[in-house]
């Protein structure tokens, strides 16, 4: 353990522990907590207490149960976006980096286009037209997140493809699939993984932003929508309600994004030291 910490893994382990603790806290809320995240189980705007640890919202629905469902909804969306981003960005990046020439030029152009487009405004416009479908939100966020991953993956692939053992394999007649699978994948995978992990936190934030703006399923128990509903309650800042109805999803969102973004950053430093 001491060696690991000296080697730079300590903060990563602490962050992983934090994420695990959050997951456990919300897993209890989702699996063992007696209150429903969708059905009223208490009085309207009940203050935190034994029956409702984090109180209830205006409809009398338990906040802790909603937060717990929101955590898994957000994390699953973030992970789906991360996986999709890894597949698209990693795949196109490896293709461009390995093939070069016209393929690389085409992928580079697409990367530049997607990097140049301001993401949130475009997501808001597209979300306004098609956004009330969760799968579509995942697709939209992934579509605007793969470019940086592809760019880094292409650079790493190009670098790896020029190594002596890869050249040797090619001169001995190894085909592209063999080289990609056996020589390049191991080198490129950490880049893709770190890039995809970075997208998880970003996707959670973007989905919350879209939900806050009313561009998601209006009755879903997402954190963005909880913040939206609470902050639009007239005069909430002149009452005590904000302390549990608004502060709880804001804190949950901040903690989750903080852990995932710091974890991605630490892993990037640790795994890609000197590479990128």
């Amino acid at each position: 353990m001491g060696k690991a910490i000296r080697g730079g893994w300590g903060p990563i382990l602490i962050l992983c522990a934090g994420l695990l603790a959050l997951t456990a806290f919300f897993a209890w809320g989702a699996l063992a907590w007696p209150c429903s995240p969708t059905q009223p189980s208490g009085a309207s705007l009940e203050a935190p207490g034994a029956a409702h640890w984090l109180g209830t919202d205006d409809l009398g629905i338990d906040i802790y149960a909603q937060l717990s469902q929101g955590f898994f909804a957000s994390m699953s969306l973030g992970l789906a976006c991360g996986a999709l981003t890894g597949l698209i960005g990693g795949g196109l990046g490896m293709l461009a980096g390995y093939k070069g020439g016209g393929v690389q030029a085409a992928v580079d152009l697409a990367v530049q286009v997607f990097l140049a487009v301001p993401q949130l405004p475009v997501l808001i416009v597209l979300g306004a037209f098609w956004g009330q479908d969760r799968r579509l939100v995942i697709g939209l966020i992934a579509a605007f997140s793969w470019a940086p991953v592809a760019k880094q993956t292409a650079a790493k692939t190009r670098s790896a493809a020029h190594r002596t053992y890869v050249q040797a394999a090619r001169s001995w007649g190894a085909n592209s699939w063999y080289i990609l699978k056996n020589h390049l994948a191991a080198e490129v995978l950490p880049v893709v993984l770190v890039g995809a992990l970075a997208v998880v936190g970003k996707a959670i934030l973007q989905e919350s932003a879209l939900a806050y703006l009313g561009l998601s399923d209006p009755t879903a128990k997402s954190w963005g929508l909880m913040i939206n509903r609470a902050s639009r309650f007239a005069g909430i800042y002149f009452t005590d309600y904000w302390k549990w109805w608004l502060a709880a999803p804001v804190a949950a969102l901040m903690l989750t994004i903080l852990f995932t973004r710091l974890l991605a950053r630490r892993l990037e430093q640790r795994l890609l030291e000197g590479d990128v």
């Binding site: 059905q39 409809l59 009313g214 399923d217 209006p218």
Partner: protein, 526 residues
């Protein structure tokens, strides 16, 4: 359709911005440096932040805040005060059978200084027949137009001849906004026009700034307005992310009071309040063309039984309101009929009827106000009764457009004005010949449902001029509506507006409309 509508809105916003840049607004008639009439305040600030359209009769949004801004810029022949109709551009009027003769005030003029004559009134009628305005009390351009013709008697006098006079005719004739002929006679498409003079109105206020994307408006008092003196030199609608915070910070002068905080503010004697009893209401529309199974009245009765409407009052309105009468007119109205059929919350009875029907509906709602919370409660109740419900929410204008276009299965529609007196909206919502004409929420009735008895009563009450007889007809109509259930009435919300008395104390309700911030006379010295 939705895409085209949104595209059009975006294009209109760009055009308006371009017009702003080109300085197309009418010049302010009063400047800050000028001395003001006694009692006039420098500026009144209200909550903005929503684009209610450009304040012209053709481009404003159909809902109250949109038409109210347009009515500041444009004037009609008559206005309403606390007790009845009063002269506005017209100083007097006479009624002789089907002929209504109006005499314009001496000195009536448009905001560019051109005189306002009977010829402009006649032109306005013709122009509205060719291009119906958003708010259309004459029903111009439709088969239901109340006018048969007109005669220009002299420069200040015009006689309007109606097809059939009734209890509402004078009010309707007095409510259409007068256009300047010299501006509009060469305009072919008023719905997109933003050229020279597009905001030159006939009203007490010139629109001196309008920015749609931020929902900002400024209106400046017009000098020597013929019908009175304005109570403020300027009216501004300023964006506010939280209206109550803005009021506390002195950024706006009037705002709504949340029910939870009413007692707290009531204790402050420097504040004045305008009560709007049961004035906002929510109804659940069923598109029977899309959901023909609900033509079976047993299913509509079961929907009523499935809904815990008291929960809407308690949880969403925070207790400030009442469960809606199935006869539509609020329980606090003078016209309310206590004989309406009541539908108490009975989830077991609802489930017994609905559970085995395998029903699935999409519920359209607006994404603003309390709509989503109410939609969620409806969803929970209907799902408990065995009906699968998917809620879709859009901005209010898109929701209205979809409702009017019949692009929905179930739709939740909320609006103010339920406390109107008399409840003439019963005709525009429930009459098969008058409903769904235009984008006003009081014209949004059920689609695919017809009822000759309701239509006869709803149309027939217009021709009854005896108050008690007309009231009896309204009450009979409500009982019929409550029995036949063309739509589901959810609940009525009561609210208060709060203002600083030392800043301005002239907010008023008319005999027909409780929304003080939307009444023209609220902004006049009286």
């Amino acid at each position: 359709m939705k895409f085209v509508s949104r595209l059009f809105s975006a294009a209109a916003a760009l055009l308006i911005l371009a017009s702003l840049a080109a300085g197309c607004f009418a010049a302010p008639a009063a400047s800050a440096g000028e001395s003001r009439p006694d009692g006039q305040v420098e500026v009144l600030r209200l909550e903005g932040g929503t684009d209610w359209g450009a304040p012209t009769p053709f481009q404003c949004q159909s809902r109250g805040p949109g038409t109210a801004k347009m009515e500041l810029v444009y004037a009609s022949l008559l206005e309403k005060d606390e007790t009845g109709d009063i002269g506005w551009l017209a100083e007097s009027w006479t009624v002789d059978g089907k002929d209504y003769t109006f005499t314009l005030r001496q000195g009536a003029a448009f905001q560019d200084g051109e005189p306002l004559t009977a010829d402009d009134v006649a032109f306005t009628i013709d122009y509205y027949n060719a291009h119906p305005p958003v708010s259309n009390p004459l029903a111009a351009g439709t088969d239901a137009c109340i006018l048969e013709g007109y005669t220009v008697v002299d420069e200040r006098t015009i006689t309007l001849t109606v097809k059939a006079p009734d209890g509402d005719t004078l009010t309707s004739l007095g409510s259409f906004e007068i256009l300047p002929r010299h501006v509009w006679e060469s305009v072919e498409d008023p719905y997109t026009y933003t050229g020279e003079g597009w905001l030159t109105g006939s009203g007490a206020w010139a629109c001196t700034a309008y920015d749609g994307p931020t929902g900002s408006y400024e209106f400046t008092a017009v000098n020597d307005f013929c019908a009175g003196t304005q109570a403020a030199a300027r009216i501004q609608f300023v964006p506010a992310s939280d209206a109550l915070l803005a009021f506390e910070n002195g950024e706006i002068d009037i705002t709504g009071v949340p029910a939870d905080l009413l007692d707290r503010y009531r204790a402050d004697e420097s504040l004045g309040f305008v009560e709007k009893a049961d004035d906002t209401g929510y109804k659940l529309l069923i598109n029977f063309d899309e959901c023909p199974e609900f033509l079976d009245i047993a299913l509509r009765q079961a929907v009523y039984a499935a809904l815990d409407r008291q929960a809407v009052v308690d949880k969403v309105f925070r207790g400030a309101g009442s469960v809606g009468s199935a006869g539509y007119v609020p329980r606090s109205s003078l016209y309310y009929s206590p004989d309406c059929v009541e539908y108490p919350y009975d989830p077991e009875a609802a489930r017994a009827v609905l559970a085995d029907k395998n029903l699935s509906v999409t519920l359209l709602a607006a994404d603003s106000g309390s709509d989503v919370a109410i939609a969620e409660l409806i969803q929970l109740d209907l799902e408990a009764a065995g009906v699968a419900v998917t809620v879709e929410s859009y901005d209010s204008a898109t929701r209205d457009s979809m409702v009017n276009g019949g692009d929905y299965q179930f739709a939740l529609v909320g609006n103010g004005g339920w406390g109107n007196n008399p409840p003439t909206y019963l005709r525009t919502i429930f009459s098969d010949v008058s409903k769904n004409q235009g984008g006003n929420p009081h014209s949004m009735g059920p689609i695919g449902y017809e009822n000759a008895e309701i239509t006869a009563l709803a149309e027939g009450q217009r021709t009854e001029t005896d108050f008690e007889a007309r009231k009896a007809m309204f009450q009979q109509l409500q009982v019929l509506i409550s029995r036949e259930i063309p739509l589901i009435v959810i609940a009525n919300q009561s609210s208060y507006s709060m203002y600083r008395k030392d800043c301005y104390d002239g907010w008023m309700k008319t005999y027909a409309y409780q929304q003080a911030e939307q009444n023209r006379l609220s902004y006049m010295l009286r």
